[in-house]
Symmetry: C2
């Protein structure tokens, strides 16, 4: 018999974010079960990677998932079968997708229709086709449907309260005029190093290699430099602000991959040849410097004019965007109520712990709504 206020959690993905999340979930479960007056019981009943899965036919909680996963031999069920399995759980279910898989993203409407809630940092579902976006929120209880709930705070700015704040502004009737900022921890680190406000910085290609060595880029740095990650985040914010953005490639996105290197067959070859183009980036840097500015990789959504764009911009050295440190994100929301001085949210926008934090906080929100 299920405990009162027992909720079942299924998790896909046990990489960087996934591991941090599982650790936070375990702390949360302990805390909630001991809450005076209103204890909640969380049971982890499914954990899968792209290769294998651990779960029990009788929905028994997983124990030491780390060693169980290591010893596991069962392959993960196909998503429709996972859905069938979860629907039959003896209580409400939250599916946490800690992957960046397009396939899993496309299955959200199926899970939501069946009353299973979704919590995820995966950008793919919310920045893919507008059709997928619509079908997700048509199904979800916190959209216009009657299915599960869907929360995705960590899909923009990791654990920073960007999406919840933008939703609050819109829901309470504020008019969002512009959203602008630095939306990529990688790009932030890269340009803060390439052109610090205090001067200095090495050749662009050397800074890219440095960022990669420090673990700030994707395994293939081109996946950051093509601007698509930022374009995906802008797509999500623009849609929340009411724009019908068709896809993350339906507006101007500046790629920092030189045309001549688009055909490189590997990330290594790309990095090897990138120095040939350092001159171009140096020119841009000097052009900015001569105006007392620095270059930064910026994204913006202009709501009244229905314009989204992503790319290099010259930014005044005194602008808060110019003075960011490390791999910080900064998101400024200009609205009717906030006037000339925007509402600004700033802080680490990448990293396992802070991304998982947004996911765990969303799980708490769903638990409350499922009560």
């Amino acid at each position: 018999m299920p405990l009162p206020r027992q909720v079942f959690i299924a998790v896909i993905g046990a990489g960087g974010v996934g591991k941090c999340f599982l650790s936070q979930l375990s702390g949360l479960a302990t805390k909630l079960s001991q809450a005076p007056g209103t204890p909640h019981y969380i049971s982890l009943i499914w954990l899968s990677t792209s290769k294998k899965a651990i779960y029990h036919a009788d929905y028994k909680s997983l124990g030491d998932w780390e060693s169980e996963l290591q010893n596991a031999s069962k392959p993960a069920l196909p998503l429709p079968e996972l859905c069938e399995y979860l629907v039959k759980a003896p209580g409400k279910v939250v599916l946490v997708d800690n992957t960046s898989s397009q396939d899993v993203a496309e299955s959200y409407p199926m899970f939501l229709h069946k009353g299973i809630s979704i919590v995820t940092p995966n950008k793919k579902a919310f920045s893919g086709s507008y059709e997928l976006w619509t079908s997700i929120f048509k199904a979800a209880s916190n959209g216009s449907g009657t299915g599960g709930y869907v929360f995705h705070e960590s899909s923009v700015g990791a654990g920073l309260p960007v999406i919840s704040t933008l939703k609050d502004l819109v829901e309470t009737g504020d008019e969002v005029h512009k959203i602008e900022g630095v939306f990529s921890g990688t790009m932030s680190f890269l340009f803060n190093s390439f052109q610090p406000t205090s001067g200095g910085g090495g050749p662009f290609s050397a800074e890219v290699s440095n960022a990669k060595d420090k673990g700030y880029t994707e395994p293939d740095a081109r996946d950051d430099l093509n601007g698509l990650d930022v374009a995906r985040k802008l797509t999500i914010l623009a849609r929340l602000a009411g724009l019908q953005v068709e896809s993350p490639t339906s507006f101007p996105v500046q790629s920092l991959i030189p045309k001549e290197l688009e055909s490189c067959s590997s990330g290594d070859e790309f990095l090897q040849r990138l120095p040939e183009f350092d001159g171009q980036m140096d020119q841009a840097k000097q052009a900015a410097e001569s105006e007392g500015k620095v270059i930064r990789f910026v994204g913006s959504v202009d709501v009244p004019n229905n314009k989204v764009k992503v790319g290099l911009e010259k930014v005044d050295k005194r602008d808060p965007i110019a003075g960011l440190k490390g791999s910080d994100n900064m998101i400024a929301m200009y609205t009717k109520r906030y006037g000339d001085n925007p509402l600004i949210i700033q802080g680490a926008g990448a990293g396992g712990e802070v991304t998982a934090m947004g996911v765990t906080a969303d799980v708490v929100k769903v638990l409350r709504l499922l009560d």
Copy 2:
């Protein structure tokens, strides 16, 4: 018969924030009633000021509250009678307290115990005695009780997502080390004018008069200058971070009211005599300037050392706190997960519309939880 998903709203206070809130509520009610799939119906059934009230014995929605209130002659019911009235409403009730009344604040446990939810920007309940704090969260469903829900986002930083973010950090198991910033729109405006980072600024007393003329201070400017408003906000944040702060006067709070003027019988007399003390403030300004710094009115919570303090500090000119504009607040949260670069929230921390926005967004959260 109540409509499906009908929630009754009672509002105390129709001043600056109250009027903005009622206008936002009306927009929200229209939007929610037209939401495809999951319409909600909001009925405003009570509106009172300190002098009078409008409501109907049969819980009929108030129509044009502005003219109804003008023509009203009924005095407001005493709070216990209001509670009885609301308890008998044919549906769930949210009481919105848009006053800064200590009496109303002290009645929250009574309402919460009866299942009535509370939404408020009123700092008094959360920054008064620790006993009141405890009894509120012991009663509330989102505390350890089984009564109504309580939300108070706008009690710190107006509509800025400060309280919800701090709660998320704590709930998901992050360790909050320090909270620091500028928590008063009045103090922000005052010191941004008195000592801009770019130099200049008039005598302190002239800047106080200017801030008062522009509507940035309370009717009696001493209510801002005594530091108590900031101390109340710090009390709330410190408690949310886990410290048992007894009251807003149980830690060091620097008052900017010179000792000699504490006995002034009126705000006007105070303003008249304040120029006698401009020399002291000028000294502080020059001392900061000689170190390349500016003075700002700052509050901080040092969690591991259980220390809260409020007062003037010399701040490096390049520090984001020094560069604030207008009456902006800035709140920096240093945590284990965010490391050296804090999570920062910045923007207007006062004003009717942005304060009401936080209240309206909280009402939406309660509506979802009441489903």
